[in-house]
Amino acid sequence: MRWLLLAMLLIAPAAFAIDPLPFKDRAEEIRFQHLARELRCLVCQNQDLADSEADLAKDLRKQVFELMRAGKSDAEIKQYLVSRYNDFVLYDPPLKPGTWLLWFAPGALVLIGAGVLANILRRRSRQIPEEPETGEDW
């Protein structure tokens, strides 16, 4: 697969990620930038669409721009790409059964941890020291 990527990078004309597009106003530009940063470049798989220099990235940026102009919402644009390229194209993992673990485990860990600690703390503090300690506070 590496040769495929290399092929794309070396033979295709280096289409730099710098891509002035004819935005009608600043708000549109900002919206585009946010979107491009949430989409993964499938060729250079560790870059987002905004920074990737691959030819395909340039095409996809143009596509996203055209979809924006056509009045599609962010969700619709993402859906457009996902239905062609798979969820993998999104940097923000969608919430679906396959990603519940991802989205909820950290919170669950905090809650469980807090619970365990609270329990231990309560038990410990049954031996409350008489007064705040004097002497070196540090």
């Binding site: 798989q45 560790n46 993992p93 990603t99 020291p129 540090w138």
Partner: protein
């Protein structure tokens, strides 16, 4: 001839590492003074040979000996001499040798600076370090030998990746490695304590300065890496939550928890289990990071060439070291929670919350980084986890930490008077609110993140300043601030700067991709950018198109920027941006390509307010770490166990089995 010497030196080092590991550990177990005494000489011997091996490799690079395959793959006759030295660690084999070298330097430091520690303990510490070194040397010799020859010698080598031909490369990996390899010392102390069945906590006092220094280096390494990525990669980003970045961030998070936990264990005798486990986890995450970067299990722009054989070796090593230590922990950890008791409202509780949140943050980063793998394992398809996930979750987890930060130093041990503390902190709260309101008034478009940045950073900064002030007023002159306390103040102030930098930059950065016609001027972020054309420029090993942009504020010339697009000898192109750095804002320009035939070019312009505060914050945290390590209490006379502040648990509490 010399590369073969290097190879031979590695083998000798391996044997000495084996000696360093096996004999002192056995000797400590059997109380055999002769074997125990072998530790330090073995350390010295091993270090000599590792330095020799590293020296041979470096020499091969300096003289450009292309008969050594690794040299041929990573340098080229047009590589300037000053980049030949860092090219040594530019790829897998060499960077591994650097890892081993740095481990040896730490080990020698521990062996030298620990004369006052009990011999049995030191024998165990050096023995554990020897085991780690043995594993890495074995890995190097068996799967990643940098001295392999390519005969007949090539006339010309490949080029070094142009992104790596940069002063940042000279500093970033060595500093980063010094950091995460340094956690092996805390790890070794923890294992030594477990093996020795130490019930008291003297060992924590001795482990603390080493941990602080390692943490400081890691902070520096990460900060450098972030700054380097910012100006080299050309896209204005400073953190990408790339798997390899995460691999260095996870040990940092656990290391931060460890620092704080060690403080509690040393002074109060509590949190022993936390301190032991965090010591093991910090280094385990360093090893895990090594695995992730070199095994090819995750795709990353940063990763070295992957090889399942190497991956398997590191995995087995990881399993042995970490699995072994967790087994030792399961068998030998204190069954009874010791230390002085404390109330629910106390500094101990705050630090417990700190431990919990940082550990959960590290777990979250691990989960997100490994999730694509989990997705494959569970068969739920290709899952992609990126900055939107990490940034969001991390911020969420840090909210309690930031909110509670100023309370930490002000709460007392065991029982805290929260009312009094709130009284002390009231000015911080008030000022933070006022400043946030002003910010909203002055910049109504400021997103929530920016306001949060103002509020959080002021809350933390003023909070810590109020503590410093209180201490100044209440403590007797001459004993106002110990280095440890000073380190804490500086580091926490660094956190405030960091918060301000991150949140304000994210909220207010401007990025524009623009087409500039010759002599055209455009206005971005309150500044006028005038394009003065592009010229061809010759560098030592590249040919570049160099653009000129003049930046003005109200007709006053602030900066002239020269972004380049370079073409290197090896056909690689690199966009070299130019930056006008400033304390309050950076102006950043990258050259795109020629558009049309009238001399117009596409250019990307960034105006990034407060971005330098991110690294300033990191640097302050690093300074805090170094300062704290200098505390006299760590360098005092050999402490007999009865003298430590937390010798015997006063009120033992049964831990759940």
């Amino acid at each position: 001839m010399l590369p073969e010497l290097g190879q031979f030196a590695l083998i000798l080092a391996l044997l000495l590492a084996l000696v360093q590991c096996a004999l002192p550990l056995y000797g400590a177990w059997r109380n055999n003074a002769a074997l125990i005494a072998l530790a330090r000489p073995a350390v010295a011997g091993q270090c000599v040979f590792v330095v020799l091996a590293f020296g041979m490799l470096t020499y091969a690079f300096l003289v450009q000996d292309f008969s050594v395959a690794y040299v041929a793959q990573n340098s080229n006759t047009s590589l300037p001499w000053y980049y030949r030295f860092p090219a040594v660690w530019g790829a897998h084999e060499g960077s591994l040798l650097l890892w081993v070298l740095i481990l040896n330097i730490w080990t020698v430091a521990v062996a030298t600076l620990s004369r006052r520690l009990p011999d049995v303990l030191i024998a165990r510490v050096l023995g554990v370090l020897g085991f780690v070194s043995f594993g890495f040397l074995l890995f190097t010799i068996l799967t990643s030998n940098p001295f392999l020859r390519h005969l007949p010698a090539l006339a010309e080598g490949n080029d070094l990746n142009p992104i790596l031909q940069d002063p940042g490369l000279i500093m970033h990996p060595p500093m980063l490695y010094t950091g995460y390899v340094g956690f092996s010392v805390a790890f070794a102390f923890a294992i030594a304590a477990l093996l020795g069945g130490e019930l008291d906590v003297a060992w924590v006092r001795w482990a603390r300065p080493w941990t602080n220094v390692a943490w400081a280096f890691l902070t520096f390494g990460i900060t450098l890496g972030s700054w380097w990525a910012y100006y080299v990669l050309g896209w204005g980003g400073w953190w990408f939550w790339d798997p390899v970045e995460n691999a260095s961030f996870m040990p940092w998070l656990v290391g931060t928890a460890l620092l704080h936990s060690q403080a509690v264990t040393e002074k109060r005798g509590s949190f022993r289990a936390w301190t032991l486990l965090l010591s093991i986890f910090a280094f385990s995450l360093s090893l895990l990071g090594t695995f992730l970067v070199r095994s090819g299990v995750l795709t990353s722009v940063h990763a070295f060439a992957s090889d399942p054989r190497r991956g398997l070796f590191i995995l087995v090593f990881l399993g042995t070291v970490v699995g072994g230590s967790l087994l030792i922990y399961a068998l030998r950890a204190p069954k009874v929670a010791g230390g002085k008791p404390f109330n629910i409202l106390s500094r101990e509780t705050l630090l417990l919350i700190n431990n919990l949140m940082f550990t959960c943050a590290a777990a979250m980063v691990l989960l997100g980084t490994l999730y694509p793998l989990i997705g494959d394992a569970l068969g739920v398809g290709r899952i992609s986890v990126g900055p939107p996930y990490f940034g969001f979750m991390f911020a969420l987890l840090m909210i309690p930490v930031v909110a509670l930060l100023p309370f930490g130093p002000l709460f007392r041990w065991a029982t805290a008077d929260w009312r009094a503390t709130l009284r002390v902190l009231r000015p911080a709260l008030v000022l933070a609110c006022i400043a946030t309101a002003c910010a909203k008034f002055v910049a109504p478009d400021l997103p929530l993140r920016g306001l949060a940045g103002v509020a959080a950073s002021l809350w933390v900064a003023i909070g810590i300043a109020l503590y410093a002030l209180k201490r100044w007023r209440e403590a007797p002159a001459g004993r106002r601030y110990t280095p440890e306390m000073l380190g804490m103040i500086v580091a926490h102030f660094g956190v405030a700067l960091f918060l301000a930098g991150v949140l304000i930059t994210e909220a207010t950065s401007i990025e524009r991709d623009l087409r500039f016609a010759p002599q055209e001027s455009q206005r971005i972020g309150g500044l006028d950018f005038a394009f003065r054309g592009v010229a061809r420029v010759q560098g030592p090993n590249y040919l570049a198109d160099e653009g000129t942009l003049e930046v003005r504020r109200d007709d006053r010339l602030i900066a002239t920027l020269h972004p380049q697009k370079r073409q290197y000898a090896g056909q690689q192109m690199q966009s070299k941006s130019d930056i006008d750095p400033g304390v309050l804002r950076d102006v950043y320009v990258a050259l795109g390509e020629a558009v049309g035939s009238d001399g117009a070019w596409s250019v990307r312009v960034y105006v990034k307010p407060f971005v330098r505060w991110i690294w300033l914050g990191g640097l302050l945290m690093m300074c805090g770490g170094f300062t704290a390590a200098c505390d006299r209490r760590f360098r005092g006379s050999p402490v007999r166990t009865a003298e430590t502040s937390a010798a015997v648990p006063d009120h033992p509490v049964e831990l759940p089995a």
